[in-house]
Amino acid sequence: MKLKIGVFKFTSCSGCQIELLRLNERLPELLNLVTVQNWAMASSNLQQGPYDIALVEGGISTPEAIEEVKMIRKNSKILVALGDCAVTGGIPSIRNWMKQREAESLVYPNPEYVPSTRIYAVDEYVKVDVYLKGCPPSLDNMLEVFKAAILDVRPRLRQHPVCIECKFYENECLLTTYKQPCMGPVTAAGCGAICPLVGRACEGCYGPMSNPNVKAMVEKLKEIGLSDDDIVRKFRKYAGMSEYYREVAKL
């Protein structure tokens, strides 16, 4: 039996869907295992479910989206929050620290036409079965979810920090050796430490790992010279709304 899948987009950039399409020449192999029932960006053939897996990209920021995501939940066996925006609100949630009317008036001359509220994670409104962190989550992690669903087991998603992956590559530590503001120690792994590998400190785009030591991270960032504002910006970026970061991000 092929898995029936649906791919849905809310407040986001579509980058997670594009990461999935980066399967490229392996896409036909995936299509041997799944039937695409509803994926508006890729197909004009939209069916209403039920879905074995619903991949939901994007945060929820309009009343209509709340209704829609509830309907998707009702029609799905496994609901996957696909990417940071769905998991915590992601980068668009930076505006949550601003009054909504201020954000609107900075962009639109007539904010009264703009149908929008603050942005929240998908699990603010419905139960989420799998959280795929990342901006975007790596293709390998997405495939792990498909494989696990086919085998009817739990997907193996990493709970440890990026540092573990960095050590696998024997990278020099950017934080302790080079005093760069690397978010690796608190950030969920899964990317393969791609940034340290190309000489860049981790910006935290996978959001918090499981139970990170945020306090120690803040102390370390202060120690290497970051101002309080810099530290707030670090945590108020990909996952400021997460339960672990809220306090430092000053919600």
Binding site: E25, S43, I94, C135, R200
Partner: protein, 423 residues
């Protein structure tokens, strides 16, 4: 009376729709409804550091992230007075080419081609063609991944250059793959130019970057076929935006004139002579005219660009030498704009920084914002010529015309639904 309503336009990026009412063969009402949830990028940039603009604006769009990164990095570097070296400039050109090849391949094969083959999606096209198409797209993705460290939302582009110089040995194998890219694109041009090709003639102002040194991508003057010739810093003096109630994407107009088109047809209109020889002979073979006034021909233009840019990517890889890819700079305040050619057309970013390098204001106009009004204007010309058809066929053809612009709706709001009311 026909009421045609497309609630959710499929095979485009983002959420939009079309409401169309036709009475007596004329368009009574037409609204390209963009109901994508706004993300307020220009607001959330305020208070962020100058070196975060690249990373944050990348997330405006999950397809043309490279273009947003390069536009923002160039604008910020202008404020800070950073002059990058030629190696950095050419690497940025190569990664931009990778981004354009990937995005064009996504559009032409996965989003648009099903229309020409009368299929619901690319998953149902002939497996051999699908595989070739996906390989072609993969080459674009790999160029971005090798230079950028990641294919989607790359991480190496920073103010002052790159965080690392990709090893030449990693880029070399792409040359053979780029030759395959050219072959596939050339076959596809012939396939779609012989398919049931819709005709439409519109006289639109076409605006693109233009540069006497090269086919303009990351730098150039802003020119049009109606005499516009300005610098990127003058953009806001000549192009104004207005908000309309039915769209969270703002509409753009040339001051004193009207809507305009950006994208591959505009680029070819202004810079056709700078295409590679193979791309030019291919254009001749399928009878493509530089001054094409048929917006549906954008797909042919995209494929011609793939051929030409693949040729150029091969040359850039050949001449690439590893070396310094980061220049030092000091932080200072000021304001500046930059424009680059994203796959869908001109992408405008402007920033004001304070003396500590904190962003105090931002103004961003991605290509789909600029095209939104033009798409409506084209539909007004097109619909009367197809008004006798069934409501279903009208909706289908209108979707095709909108799709020809390859709208990137997330970008423009910083989705598409078609509703047709035929009376």
């Amino acid at each position: 009376m026909k009421n045609i309503k497309i609630d959710y336009l499929t095979r485009v990026e983002g959420k939009g729709g079309l409401d169309l009412t036709i009475e007596g063969g004329e368009v009574k009402d037409l609204k390209l409804r963009i109901y994508e949830e706004p993300r307020f990028f220009e607001a959330l940039l305020v208070g962020r550091r100058f070196d975060e603009a690249v990373e944050l604006t990348s997330r405006i769009c999950g397809i043309c992230y490279v273009a947003h990164q390069i536009t923002s990095v160039r604008a910020i570097e202008k404020v800070l007075g950073v002059e990058v070296n030629e190696r950095i400039r050419l690497l940025r050109r190569l990664i931009a080419i990778g981004g354009i090849i990937s995005s064009h391949a996504l559009h032409v094969y996965l989003l648009a081609l099903p229309d020409f083959l009368k299929l619901p999606d690319a998953f149902s096209i002939n497996p051999e063609l699908l595989l070739k198409a996906l390989k072609l797209k993969g080459v674009g993705d790999r160029i971005v991944e090798i230079i950028g460290g990641r294919a989607v939302h790359p991480v190496t582009i920073v103010v002052g250059g790159f965080t690392y110089a990709p090893p030449k040995g990693k880029l070399e194998p792409l040359k053979d793959e780029l030759k395959e890219v050219k072959k596939t694109a050339a076959e596809t041009v012939q396939l779609i130019s012989t398919a049931d090709f819709p005709t439409l003639k519109v006289d639109s102002e076409k605006i693109a970057l233009s540069n006497s040194e090269e086919y303009a991508i990351n730098e150039g003057r802003v020119k049009s076929n109606k005499g516009l010739d300005i610098t990127e810093d003058e953009f806001r003096k000549f192009i104004k935006e207005e908000q309309v109630p039915h769209s969270t994407a703002k509409h753009s107009k040339v001051v004193g004139r009207s809507s305009y088109m950006v994208g591959p047809l505009s680029r070819l209109c202004l810079n056709f002579n700078q295409l590679s020889d193979d791309a030019k002979s291919l254009a001749e073979m399928v009878d493509f005219r530089q001054q094409s006034d048929n917006p549906f021909e954008a797909n042919i233009a995209r494929l011609l660009e793939i051929v030409s840019l693949a040729d150029e990517a091969i040359e850039l890889i050949d001449s690439y030498e590893e070396g310094e890819v980061r220049v030092p700079f000091k932080v200072r305040g000021g304001e500046s704009a930059a424009i680059t050619e994203a796959p869908r057309g001109m992408n405008y970013h402007w920033y004001r920084l304070d003396n500590n390098g904190i962003i105090r204001a931002a103004d961003i106009s991605p290509p789909t914002c600029q095209n939104a009004k033009r798409i409506e204007d084209d539909l007004r010309v097109y619909v009367p010529t197809i008004a006798d058809m069934s409501e279903e066929e009208i909706a289908h053809r209108c979707s095709m015309l909108i799709r020809a612009y390859d709208p990137c709706i997330s970008c423009s709001v910083h989705s598409l639904t078609v509703k047709v009311r035929k009376m």
